[in-house]
Amino acid sequence: MLDLPVYFLTQGWIVLPLIATTGKRFWMPEQASTYAGNIDFVFYFTYWASAIACVLIVAAMILMVIRYRRRPGHREQPSPAHSTALEMTWTLVPSVVFLMIFYWGFKGFLDIATPPDNAYEIHVTGSKWNWAFSYPNGAVSSELHLPVNTPVRLTLQSTDVIHSIFVPAFRMKKDLVPGRYNITWVEATKTGTFDLYCAEYCGTSHSEMITRAIVHEPGEFQAKITELANWLGTVTPVEAGARLYKEKGCITCHTIDGKAGTGPTFKNLFGTTDHELRDKTVTVDANYIRESIVTPGKEIVKGYQNQMPVLKVSDQEITAIIEFLKSISDKAPKPLEAWPTEGQNGQQQEAPPVVEEAKP
């Protein structure tokens, strides 16, 4: 029965101009989810109730200060110093308004907190300082891809400290708490690209833990996550490594142009023979790189903090990253560009036959 006021007001002409548009307004970003409209309704109701209250209070104050200001010939006049009737009124009216706001907020929250049964599942892992979204087909991406008009349940976990997934356009926010799973859900109502922030302070690069929520038409979405699941095999190892450098979040701490960062720079790293760790000196070879990714806390480079999170990286991905690191180091062995035309004994060699690749 209390839904009647909500129904009236949302359909009514008074509030319609404020909330009917789903585009960006002064206070709120565009609405891109099913529950955003509800949140905006409660926001604007509270806003107008507050604005009216503020104006009344401040106007009363200003008018009385002007009217009763100290001046020659003016004197304070006796008046009652209490009024039970007034106290009751200004206790009850705000209480009723507050209860309305509470009720709508609670109803709206139950919606946000209850994913529909048939929701599509995506797993979200937060680490310092990047996102990993895992899709049911095994694809992993640093961006959140969603199908439009489909409820999506997000299972949230963290590998280190508390993060929080926040998409203003969806009005979605939930903490990623290490040691437990949190759940949230969203049904996106329009296609497009929307900012996705970390909203819980998590250290040095908290303000750069930003990615995008990209909402696709259903067919497009399927194609996208299929591409994400299979892309590794469609590019050269060096190209794959370059892309993984960004996707896995290595870019947040390791530069490739030599500048200092939270972690050692990757420029000219591979092949270094005098790489100083806290307690010994090593050569940066493929095994060292592998160990640094799989067990990051085992050996720390001198002068740096033990901050690298444990990331989910497959063997194929590690190989690609190693190739990428070789490609940006002047100390790495140069790869063979072409088949040599002179053998060891000086005789001419034939190039090996070219094998036609099977067409997919």
């Binding site: 949140i39 009763y68 006796p78 110093a81 280190d160 926040f166 903090q305 033990n306």
Partner: protein, 593 residues
């Protein structure tokens, strides 16, 4: 209500004592201050310490706002260094302001000075414990100074950190786990131990005030004849003694986990990170009522005295302070709506948050009603008081958006929150505090400040404050997260305005301090009662003698101004003699409850 005066109130004119007999001049030398048990001197020592902490916290604020003037790094070429520096700035700003400034400020400075005199007493119930409270504050402050110095020296001399560990603090003033228990980037243990020590200063002050109000009230001062500032300080003291120990234990647990690896909050040690949030906010929410209740008490005094009208709704204001203190203990979970707390817990915290908003609204309406048919003097304290009502109204209504479950999901951890708490903590507590400082300045120092200077400074602070924080509401609801060292382009104009406002506010605060320093040196002599107040501190000289009164005061209705008559030569008020009072028309004789 018809007006009658209780006939047996004895009303001698306070005889000004010889110059050497006021509390400032009666004893000389550093030791007479360092070992004093005079609540007035202790209040002044707190004032020097706490205001220094305020200025330090302000410098951190200006540094972080300077970093945010545009999305690029401002102070350092290297991004990592820039963000680490920013994280230190926002953390230290919060920690210094909360623990060293805003929680002690009104109780320890104005409360210490005014409370015993308002009670017609010679001192607080436990004067030596009062001095101990001050030294505990100082000791805690030294810990923070150490943390800060370590950070500065580590930055200047890079090799130093491997010698004595990291300095500074970059966990956020809230020390959320497991970040705080696992970070190797800052002096978390030293900072939390400092906060732990400061807690005792707060607790002992609370004990002292409760004992004083129970035991030292004079003849005629029943509970409902007490000035509202005392009701406010009483409610505050209850929160101080019940809530602060919880923070103390929580911080010790944090240190135990960090140093001894006892698993409480870190999931890697089988702990629960959200448990920390419950422990922390169980104190830190009531803490905000420790901050605001004394400010509301000051407002009740200032509005009434400078309107020359009995405060409207005395009983409702008095009881609402107790209501806020009690219900304030039941709402801490509203800081945790996105943490994964159950919908049931969320709903209970949400509805109780709305309940606790009601007494604050009642107070606001009562203050404004006091202005009706008044005679309003727009002196600097009154200007600050009226500004406080305006800013508190905005701060309070924006709390509604945050207590409401579904809007809070969007607004939590955005700049909307930052703006909300600055409007209530700074806009309300600081402005009320400054109003109180100007109001009791003549009593404390026997000098009057310059009105034009004071009002001008107030206006600059007001403009600067709103310029800084109002844009933050808008960018918060548009999605700008908090604790960000850099940000997307679309928020640049908001941040630019916020930074310009912050520097304006800094200028205003500087002018406030300058006006007070100017008054100390060149202010004209203040009369005993420049404002015509009827609370007992105006019944003694400005400044008071060490024992506060040269006679035994008897209390009257604290908001009955009819006995005081303005003398323009003195620019102050003197009490009417009995014959003069008898000649007043009946309707101008006192208004009593």
């Amino acid at each position: 209500m018809s007006a009658t005066v209780t006939p047996d109130i004895d009303f001698p004119s306070p005889v000004p004592p010889a110059k050497s007999a006021n509390y400032l001049t009666s004893r000389k030398g550093l030791l007479s201050w360092a070992l004093t048990v005079d609540h007035k001197r202790i209040g002044l020592m707190y004032m020097v310490g706490v205001l220094s902490a305020y200025l330090l916290g302000g410098v951190f604020a200006l540094a972080l706002r300077a970093e945010l003037i545009n999305p690029e790094a401002t102070f350092f070429a290297d991004k990592t260094q820039a963000w680490n520096f920013y994280n230190q700035m926002f953390t230290l700003h919060g920690a210094v302001m909360v623990f060293l400034f805003i929680i002690p400020a009104i109780p320890a400075i104005l409360g210490n000075f005014v409370l015993p005199i308002m009670l017609g007493a010679k001192d607080v119930a436990f004067p030596r414990m009062n001095l101990a409270s001050f030294y505990l504050w100082l000791f805690g402050a030294i810990f923070f100074a150490y943390v800060l110095l370590k950070g500065i020296l580590n930055t200047l001399f890079p090799g130093l950190e491997s010698f004595w560990g990291p300095g500074g603090l970059e966990t956020g003033w809230t020390f959320y786990t497991p970040y705080s228990t696992t970070t190797g980037n800052s002096a978390v243990v030293a900072a939390t131990l400092g906060a732990f020590i400061l807690g005792f200063s707060s607790i002992l002050t609370g004990v002292n005030f409760i004992a004083s109000i129970h035991m030292l009230r004079p003849k005629g001062m029943t509970w409902f004849r007490m000035p509202l500032l005392l009701w406010a300080l009483y409610a505050t003291s209850i929160i101080q003694i019940l809530a602060t120990p919880v923070l103390g234990i929580t911080l010790l647990l944090l240190v135990a986990e960090k140093v001894l690896k006892v698993g409480i909050f870190d999931p890697n040690l089988n702990g629960d990170p959200v448990l920390y949030q419950h422990f922390f906010w169980f104190y830190s929410h009531p803490a905000v009522y420790i901050m605001i209740l004394p400010a509301m008490g000051i407002l009740s005094e200032l509005i009434s005295v400078h309107s020359r009208k009995h405060i409207f709704g005395y009983k409702f204001i008095a009881l609402s302070s107790l209501a806020i203190a009690f219900i304030g203990f039941l709402v801490w979970g509203h800081h945790m709506f996105t943490s994964g707390q159950s919908p049931l817990a969320n709903a209970i915290f949400s509805v109780l948050t709305f309940v606790v908003a009601v007494p604050s609204a009642i107070k606001t309406f009562n203050w404004v009603s006091t202005l009706y048919k008044a005679n309003i003097r727009l002196c600097t304290p009154m200007v600050f008081a009226l500004m406080t009502i305006f800013l508190f109204t905005i701060g309070g209504v924006t709390g509604l958006f945050l207590g409401c479950l579904n809007t809070d999901i969007h607004l939590h951890d955005t700049y909307f929150i930052v703006a909300h708490f600055h409007y209530v903590m700074m806009g309300s507590v600081l402005f009320a505090f400054l109003g109180g400082v100007y109001h009791w300045f003549p009593k404390m120092f026997g000098k009057m400040y310059n009105e034009a200077f004071g009002r001008f400074a107030a206006v600059i602070v007001f403009i600067g404050f709103n310029w800084t924080f109002f844009p933050q509401f808008i960018m918060g609801s548009q999605g700008m997260p908090r604790r960000y060292a850099t940000y997307p382009e679309q928020f640049t104009s908001f941040h630019l305005n916020s930074t310009l406002g912050a520097f304006t506010m800094g200028l205003g605060i500087f002018l406030v301090l300058l006006s007070l320093a100017h008054a100390l040196k060149w202010g004209r002599t203040a009369p005993s009662n420049p404002w015509g107040g009827n609370t007992l501190e105006w019944h003694t000289t400005s400044p008071p003698p060490t024992e506060n009164f040269s006679y035994t005061p008897v209390a009257d209705d604290p908001y009955d101004y009819s006995r005081w008559h303005y003398v323009s030569d003195e620019k102050g008020y003197r009490p009417l003699t009995d014959e003069e009072y008898a000649k007043l028309p009946d309707e101008y004789k006192g208004i009593h409850h």
